[in-house]
């Protein structure tokens, strides 16, 4: 295997609605900042890969237009995934493993504000049994949350603790959208929006984008004073049938975590892509992360959830923290599909 590292990361200041910039305009400064952070121009980027979804932009092949944000001329080697940008990073990592290129640019973006994202995401569901019922994301998360509460392993107060901690940690993240100091008790006193869900169980509707530069071996060492090395990366998927899997655990996360080598050394902190409070607790259990591991120091997806970018941001945040010397071994996670159907786990380390 070739050593590959995340060497630069940039993101938008996430907002409920970015109305003064289209997707290209939203991406351009982020791509520029990521390239500048790595000290490279597009001439050194051997592969570009993006993650986004036509269902948010409302038109086919929308990613082709956003290539304007990187400038496709002279011709670039490019690919796209209709998935969170974390999977675009995975594709770029595979490309670097093949040994023909040394530097790759990965970006992702999503504007949820023009439509109703909780309704749009019903279109990703099983087309025969689920999508024709139009179950919105909050209703589905409610099924998972209640199932988890029913096990007795988790109380509602634990969920409020997750929300309060995420919002509080986001106070030190200038890019986060929902940053405030709420006590768990105050959150528990709020009414349900759709029993068993409180508003604070859910992520804020967010527009935003992110970009990452990865590089291999000595090129990474040349371009970064402290690369965040990808020591393991793996992704696994489960059935699309919600009733065919145990919603209170995440078998695919557990397997991806094992393959990525999460447990082979102590973990300093983790960035987990958990758009709903119960999902963070499920992921922690499935990855075997104890109370000694700091979870989502960035505030996580509960503080800013640009759909299609929020998973890539977990990898970028974890890498940036390692590069800044604020930890040496991190677990970064991204999810895709309904109720943690598909999961990617990445172990990052400093030198």
């Amino acid at each position: 295997m070739r050593d590959v590292a995340i060497i630069s990361f940039a993101q938008t200041k996430h907002a409920r609605a970015i109305t003064d910039a289209n997707e290209v305009e939203m991406l351009m400064p982020v791509v520029r900042e990521a390239l500048d952070g790595a000290g490279v121009g597009m001439d050194r980027v051997g592969f570009t890969c993006s993650g986004s979804t036509d269902y948010l932009s409302g038109q086919a092949f929308s990613f082709v237009m956003t290539l304007d944000a990187v400038g496709p001329w002279p011709p670039i080697a490019e690919s796209h995934v209709e998935m969170d940008g974390a999977w675009a990073l995975y594709e770029a990592w595979v490309k670097l493993q093949m040994g023909e290129v040394d530097v790759a640019l990965v970006y992702a973006y999503g504007k949820s504000s023009p439509g109703d994202v909780t309704e749009v995401l019903t279109r990703q569901l099983d087309p025969y049994f689920l999508a024709p019922l139009w179950p919105d994301t909050i209703s589905l998360a409610g099924l998972q949350t209640r199932a988890l509460l029913e096990t007795g392993r988790v109380r509602e107060a634990d969920l409020a603790e997750v929300a309060a901690r995420s919002r509080r940690d986001a106070l030190s993240n200038p890019y986060a959208l929902l940053a405030r100091d709420d006590s768990p008790d105050a959150l528990l006193a709020e009414p349900f929006i759709a029993e068993p869900m409180h508003k604070w169980d859910c992520p804020p509707i967010t527009d935003g984008a992110a970009a990452v530069v990865i590089a291999a071996g000595d090129v990474a060492r040349e371009l970064s004073s402290r690369p965040a090395w990808v020591r393991g990366i793996d992704h696994r998927i489960e059935s699309q049938g919600l009733g065919l899997r145990d919603l209170t655990t995440s078998a695919s996360t557990r397997l991806a975590g094992e393959k990525a080598g999460v447990a082979s050394a102590p973990v300093d902190f983790a960035e987990l892509h958990a758009p709903f409070t119960a999902q963070e607790l499920i992921l922690r259990e499935s990855l075997g992360l104890g109370d000694d591991v700091a979870i989502n120091p960035s505030g996580g997806a509960l503080a800013a959830n640009p759909v299609m970018a929020a998973g890539l941001i977990r990898l970028g945040e974890a890498a940036a923290r390692i590069t800044r010397g604020e930890g040496n071994r991190a677990v970064a996670h991204a999810t895709s599909g309904p109720l943690l159907q598909q999961n990617l786990v990445c172990v990052l380390e400093g030198e």
């Binding site: 309704e119 025969y128 049994f129 689920l130 024709p132 019922l133 139009w134 179950p135 919105d136 909050i138 209703s139 589905l140 998360a141 409610g142 099924l143 998972q144 949350t145 209640r146 199932a147 029913e150 349900f192 759709a194 029993e195 068993p196 869900m197 489960e238 059935s239 049938g241 919600l242 009733g243 065919l244 899997r245 919603l247």
Partner: protein, 140 residues
């Protein structure tokens, strides 16, 4: 202007059998590799990926395994009225399906409660041939 998608696709021997069953007012699942009855049925086993083919009729009553409340939204069952989403394990099935339960308030919902199918009068071989579920009469 009506934007059309002028393609049709066949639903195959498993999903197709399930949907045809709904049109006839019958619910069928399929035996998985481990002998469990998967409902809704899948063409391939979710764990072993083996091809599955033994269809099994299941009951029209069952049990709620988890649920959430909604005020009701466009396109969803029950025409915008509040209802409960639920995963429901039909009698004779080992896995649960998603559908709506028509009750007036969340107080009437609980895990383990018994429900039964309310069929639409006009059925066409579609998951919404099941209008919703309702509490089973006589069940506590």
């Amino acid at each position: 202007m009506v934007i059309e998608y002028p393609f049709s696709r066949t639903t195959g021997p498993v999903i197709g059998a399930f949907l045809t069953g709904l049109r006839e007012g019958v619910v069928v699942g399929i035996k998985g590799s481990d002998g469990r009855v998967l409902m809704p049925p899948t063409e391939y086993d979710p764990v072993t990926s083996e091809s599955l083919n033994e269809m099994v009729e299941v009951g029209q009553t069952g049990q709620v395994t988890t649920w959430s409340w909604t005020e009701g939204r466009r396109y969803q069952p029950l025409d915008g009225r509040p209802f409960a989403w639920a995963l429901i394990k039909l009698d004779g099935a080992d896995t649960a399906m998603l559908h709506a339960v028509d009750v007036a308030s969340p107080d009437q919902m609980s895990i383990g409660m018994r429900v039964r199918i309310r069929w639409r009068a006009e059925r066409e071989g579609h998951i919404r041939d099941i209008e919703c579920f309702e509490p089973e009469v006589g069940a506590s």
